[in-house]
């Protein structure tokens, strides 16, 4: 449901073989295709974090999100991309890529961040996946960890939107 109440601890981990965008509220047949779609690819380097969060915030603004939601998207994307970049630095194999995807779906803004292989894992420096992922869990209305198409992990974040912005 797109309008579930916000709670502070909604991080759920599920493993699926794809990116299932279908709404689960039983109204999928009436949905129109999202007109606003973003797909960006970045090198897994620290400088990409600012680039990705800026683009994501601009997308949320164009989609008609409130300033509060725009700020939430910006911070959540910063955390998700940071996690991948931190791994790229600790792993021996560098040169990975990061995909940022976003689309405006009925009732919600969907934003996903994925890498091309190693996936989101606890950081080797001991700070853990905890803080960044906990922040994402507080910001998004729903968070899912999915297996990406290329074998990496995808963090899919859903932000509730007022119905008027998605029914045009």
């Amino acid at each position: 449901m797109a309008n579930e109440p916000r709670t502070g601890d909604r991080v759920s981990a599920s493993w699926q073989s794809g990116f299932d965008d279908a709404a689960d509220d039983g109204t999928a047949s009436a949905e129109v295709p999202a007109a606003l779609v973003l797909f960006e690819t970045y090198l897994a380097v620290p400088e990409s974090v600012a680039a990705a969060r800026t683009i994501a915030a601009e997308f949320a603004t164009r989609a008609g999100a409130s300033q509060k939601t725009v700020n939430a998207v910006k911070l959540a994307v910063s955390e998700a991309v940071t996690n991948i970049v931190a791994h790229a630095y600790t792993d021996t194999a560098q040169g990975g890529l990061i995909h940022l995807e976003a689309n405006l779906a009925p009732g919600e803004l969907q934003v996903s961040v994925s890498d091309t292989g190693r996936g989101l894992r606890p950081r080797s420096n001991g700070r853990g996946l905890g803080l960044g992922l906990a922040i994402i869990g507080e910001l998004a209305d729903k968070v899912e960890l999915l297996q990406g198409a290329t074998g990496g992990l995808r963090v899919l974040m859903r932000f509730a939107m007022p119905a008027s912005t998605t029914e045009s």
Binding site: A51, S78, R127, L131
Partner: protein
Amino acid sequence: MAESFSVRSERTATVHRVIPTGELDIATAPILEREFDAAQVAGEDVVIVVDLTELAFMDSSGLNVLLQLNDRFPNRLRVINGSPAVERLLDLSGVRSRLPIISPDADPLTPLA
């Protein structure tokens, strides 16, 4: 994408104030960390103030720097927090209670409660 970030420091005999400006994240956090190598030279009795009021953005990379500084300078660190974005980050991360946060108009030399 150009990201603006800078750090300046102001020194008195008793307080070393560090003021980062711009966006603090994994790319810019090392700049802030380096600024504290000078502060460590300043002596055991100098209070170190990190003034966050000029930050336009901060994420968990900035929080990690602050937590590490608090470990490195126990009882000597003070954090001044002014922007709404940083306020929100402190609250939703649960980190607020783990940092010595003082208000902008407080005397940093006042012992922590």
